[in-house]
């Protein structure tokens, strides 16, 4: 794997989606729908093939040379003492995994979109934005310079903004898009400031340079803690973690393929990627790591609770995404980078699956999203239900589905290597999350597909066309068997059954000895116990859900009645975060801006000038009184002045 190979392949994989985006943006409006579709999906297909080649390159590379960088061009060079940034790309196992996730899932979603957006007039625009997103995401994961990473980081926010607001005549979509973008820009600023700290401290933004110089940070010192906290804030904004999570549910205003691609599979997991990528820094900042882990698991719990209470099908999945990303963030927070990345990959598969299956449902019901108005869809949407079920099983962590491997893997690592004195506390919370996940995952399935149809439209629902079913089916197969295949493979090579192959593949990146879930071995009793308990938790949740919602006439209120009255209320209103932010941030700023316009500008800013001009007018009015127009008056002024002058001269002369 040579530098030039990396340069060529990276250039190719970046240019393909970009070319697709530009082509569709500039001439898409003149092309037929078929051509537009071909450009949109074809560019991603090509990118996927290139990604496969790149994966093959990484796999084929000898041990110890699994990572290579290439310098494309110099972005900015301000000379000695100044900023130097090169447009560098890097290819290593970590970016290869991300490439496969992005282009693979992205390709399926693009194909799916052909069907889903069939009747939309803005198809060229849609594919242009989608390709732009793939391009941005690839920039993000390929970047070998923090600044280039930030550019990709912001570009994905941009494409997310564009796609959330895709239906631009819908005011709620417009507002949601802006909210998402501004929140992420706040995260960008945190990232930028982290970059400043890094560049001031070690003089470079090049990521290999940063990682090489990481030991120059005092371990656990204030500086590294601040840097990592800022990086984490950037990650939280992108990954919709508390307290910057409120944009994600609103982002469901976008078309469903967008939710599947951006707000489930790829972009929102970029935060996980960021922390994993910067693990050499995080490893030296235990406080920041602990913070990340706590925020991750806290968000997971919170989002799980909210997911239980929502009634919009996409919002339920959105909150489940938030919850699952919370788990990944937790994982990378405790140093289980491989486990986090593995969950990222499996989650990308099954969550995209869930979204697309939900998209099928929405499509069949003509844009109905309220699950209270569904029910009994399994008769008409048999295949969709099967696929959905595969995703639900994976999400809930039912054994041998993909999610089981990744989730139990990271929870087991948390038990043995978790931070602080009581890692088992976090583990128990994790088991609780498993219960919650089982509950909301099966609740969704049960309310949508089982029970009595709630509206007449359900009877008229028709199964989605093949172009929408095939990608869903592929993902369903993946989510059913991906984990199993890798697990069997792991057993063959005598490694950890849960994530052995995956962790081994990533081990060149996460070289730090303590990390790497290789340390978790199923042969130890604790880990076995952990896996069993965790699985039992998932099953418990699933069982409870079945118990509650699989009755002929499910009555969830019977359950909620037993809870404290405030809890369902709080959960349904998403813990009032939107309202709190509105009151604490938005309103004061708007009031401040209004005060600036109404008070500060006229009273203070203009008053200075006004005072001067008024004084000049006053002076003029005063002088005007002496301008009588009488020559003798003028002469008397002149003579008086001359007299003063004479006297002054004489006084000075006589001194």
């Amino acid at each position: 794997m040579t530098t030039s190979t990396v340069a060529v392949l990276s250039g190719l994989i970046l240019l393909l989606p970009l070319a697709g985006a530009l082509l569709n943006a500039l001439v898409g409006w003149r092309l037929s729908r078929r051509v537009v579709n071909a450009i949109g999906t074809g560019s991603i297909l090509a990118a996927f093939l290139v990604a496969c080649v790149m994966l093959a390159q990484v796999v084929g590379a000898p041990d110890g040379a699994k990572s290579a960088s290439a310098h494309l061009w110099q972005w900015l060079d301000l000379g000695t003492g100044g900023l130097r940034v090169g447009v560098d790309v890097t290819l290593d196992p970590l970016s290869a995994v991300m490439l496969m996730v992005i282009t693979g899932v992205g390709l399926l979603i693009h194909v799916y979109s052909v069907g889903y957006m069939e009747h939309d007039r803005g198809i060229a625009r849609f594919f242009s934005y989608m390709n732009l997103f793939i391009f941005s995401m690839l920039v993000l994961v390929l970047a070998a310079d923090l600044l280039i990473l930030i550019i990709g980081w912001a570009l994905v926010a941009l494409s997310s903004y564009l796609l959330i607001g895709f239906w631009y005549e819908r005011p709620s979509a417009v507002v949601a898009a802006r909210k998402a973008f501004i929140t992420q820009v706040a995260g960008d600023v945190a990232l930028v400031i982290a970059a400043f700290l890094i560049v001031v401290h070690i003089g470079t933004l090049s990521m290999p340079g940063i990682f090489a110089a990481a030991p120059s940070f005092a371990s656990g010192g204030l500086l590294i803690t601040v840097v990592c906290s800022l990086l984490a804030i950037g990650a939280f904004a992108k990954s919709a973690q508390f307290p910057l999570h409120t944009w994600l549910p609103d982002a469901m205003e976008g078309p469903t393929p967008v939710s599947a691609l951006i707000h489930a599979a790829t972009m929102v997991t970029a935060g996980v990627y960021l922390i994993a990528r910067f693990h050499p820094l995080f490893d030296r900042a235990p406080v920041a790591q602990g913070m990340v882990a706590c925020v991750g698991i806290g968000t997971a719990v919170m989002a799980g609770v909210i997911a239980l209470s929502q009634v919009d099908i996409k919002r339920v999945i959105a909150y489940s995404t938030m919850s699952q990303i919370g788990l990944m963030i937790f994982a990378v927070g405790i140093g289980a980078y491989s486990a986090g990345m593995f969950h990222l990959a499996t989650h990308a598969v099954f969550k995209a699956l869930l979204f697309m299956a939900a998209g099928n449902v929405i499509h069949a019901l003509h844009d109905e999203q309220d699950i209270r108005l569904m029910g009994g869809l399994s008769t008409n949407l048999r295949r969709t239900e099967l696929c959905f079920l595969s995703g639900t099983f994976a999400l809930a962590g039912i054994p041998l589905f993909a999610g089981f491997f990744s989730k139990e893997g990271l929870l087991g690592f948390g038990l043995t290597n978790g931070p602080g004195a009581f890692p088992w506390v976090l583990y128990l919370v994790g088991v609780g999350i498993n219960v919650l996940t089982g509950l909301y995952a099966f609740r969704l399935w049960a309310t949508v597909f089982r029970g009595e149809p709630q509206t007449a439209r359900v009877y008229a629902a028709r199964e989605a066309p093949r172009v929408m079913l095939v990608p869903v089916a592929i993902l369903a197969l993946l989510s059913a068997f991906l984990g199993l295949i890798l697990g069997v493979w792991s057993l063959v090579i005598h490694d950890n059954f849960l994530i052995g192959v995956f962790a081994r593949f990533l081990s060149p990146v996460f070289t730090t000895p303590a990390s790497g879930p290789l340390a978790v071995d199923l042969s130890t009793g604790t880990a076995i116990l952990a896996g069993i308990v965790g699985t039992l938790g998932s099953l418990l949740g699933a069982g409870l859900a079945a118990r509650i919602w699989l009755q002929r006439n499910p009555d969830p209120s019977a359950v909620t009645a037993r809870l404290p009255r405030a809890l369902p209320q709080l959960a349904y209103n998403k813990f009032y975060f939107d309202e709190i932010y509105d009151a604490l941030l938005v309103r004061p700023l708007v009031a401040l801006a209004r005060a600036a316009r109404r008070v500060v500008e006229p009273r203070f800013m203009n008053s200075g000038v006004q005072t001067v001009s008024d004084a000049c007018s006053e002076l003029g009015a005063w002088v005007r009184d002496y301008q009588t127009g009488l020559i003798r008056d003028y002469a008397s002024y002149m003579i008086a002045a001359a007299g003063v002058f004479v006297v002054a001269t004489l006084v000075l002369v006589s001194r």
Binding site: Q627, T628, G629, L630, I631, R632, A635, S636, I639, A642
Partner: protein, 103 residues
């Protein structure tokens, strides 16, 4: 007492004539008299020129005084012409009535 001893007194005389002329400009209302007072002031200046020329042993003082006389003559010609015109329009010969400058 030589002539040179009178020099400061000549300056004092010039100052007196000048200031009395200025006083006249200020207090007289008849423009013709005001013109005379101005002539008085010009003459005062001429004294200064001439006496300095005399005591610095130079002709330039006289030359300047000559110029002053010529200018004064020109000024009187134009000024008196103006006065006759003002009078012809039917105005009082009162300088305080001429306040068109006070717009």
């Amino acid at each position: 007492m030589t002539a040179s001893a009178n020099f400061p007194y000549l300056l004092a005389l010039a100052a007196f004539l000048f200031s009395v002329g200025a006083l006249g400009v200020l207090i007289r209302r008849n423009p013709i008299v005001v013109f005379m007072c101005i002539e008085l002031m010009l003459n005062a200046v001429n004294i200064v020129f001439v006496s300095y020329g005399r005591f610095l042993n130079s002709e330039e003082g006289q030359v300047f005084a000559f110029m002053v006389i010529v200018v004064a003559a020109a000024e009187v010609v134009v000024g008196l012409a103006l006065i006759t015109q003002v009078f012809r329009v039917g105005r009082e010969l009162d300088i305080d009535d001429l306040d068109e400058l006070n717009e």
